[in-house]
Symmetry: C2
């Protein structure tokens, strides 16, 4: 697997010149994760800053009752890492697990910092990733407050239909903030309409 896609991805940050893009890509290491394998488990410190080229993953936490709650889904072409644990060097409260076999590129925390140092333009990329993640989460929060469960379901179905091919419905239900029972009923009702 070549680093083409990775370089293409870095390209979205216009401040970064082509030469620097290649230099940055040089620092990434290849990684494969097989289905169900964990990229990060609760209690560990997230040490990988990962660009995923192929495959799907999900992040999940446990609520006070010990139930799994899906906090995010990751599709190909995304950067994946647990922000708080990675930057604050604290134990993660989340798990990140592969839903399918995955292939991608990663750098470690130390590598990222040394990249920030040697190629300052990469900082812009790092910041853009943070800002994007933040904006996305904010939009999801707003939809959680203003939309009904059915609307949230329809929205996810429209924007990320692939998720439904790779994640079980009960996993998707907790992401939407409802029980699997409710999701099942919502889907049933929509067939009628």
């Amino acid at each position: 697997m070549s680093k083409e896609k990775l370089i293409e991805y870095l390209r979205n940050e216009k401040q970064i010149s082509p030469v620097v893009r290649t230099a940055i890509a040089d620092n990434f290491n290849s990684i494969t994760i097989s289905k169900n394998q964990f990229l990060l488990t609760e209690g560990k410190i997230c040490n990988e800053y990962l660009f995923m080229e192929k495959g799907y993953l999900r992040a999940f936490a446990h609520d006070t009752g010990g139930n799994e709650v899906t906090t995010n889904f990751y599709c190909p072409g995304r950067v994946i890492f647990e922000v708080s644990s990675f930057f604050n060097r604290t134990r993660s409260k989340e798990n990140i697990q592969a839903l399918t076999d995955c292939e991608g590129w990663y750098i470690t925390y130390e590598q990222l910092n040394s990249l920030f140092h040697t190629l300052p333009e990469f900082r812009e990329f790092g910041r853009a990733m943070l800002v994007n993640g933040f904006t996305e989460l904010k939009a999801r929060m707003l939809s959680m407050i203003t939309e009904t469960a059915e609307e949230r379901y329809q929205h996810l179905l429209k924007t990320s239909p692939e998720i439904f091919q790779h994640a079980p419905l009960k996993t998707i239900a907790s992401y939407l903030g409802i029980t699997d029972t409710s999701l099942s009923r919502i889907r049933k009702d929509l067939v009628k309409k």
Copy 2:
């Protein structure tokens, strides 16, 4: 008003030396906002990176029905700005309004960038602000999924009781993701218990 509190706040970032802290603080300008005045309105580009020393504010958006939805409350000692609009230079979808008279310190987007350039250590501070905001929002998202409305109310009451002295209940209700009617009922039920 002296810049003591601002400097003290910058101190939380241990990577920043005392001398640099003072240098950073020198670049902040004083600002006062009177009650109900807007720091940012929908459609404008957020241009202020604000450290609030006294006073309370709230951020709110409009849902598809045109109703106001409170997205955040800001207490003294916090940095306030709309991340996406500020960094991406895009029109804000949110409003930020003072709940009380406020006093604080701000720098503009241009000033922030030049500070990043002249005092690179300030970048760490900027990143920490982003990471903190992200972590906070994630926690709120999880509570929105796993906790009942009553639990979310109790939690806010415990962690930010001051909010209840400065914001009307209907504003707080939309922050909690419920209607003012529901919040009123929850409060009534809690008196009984």
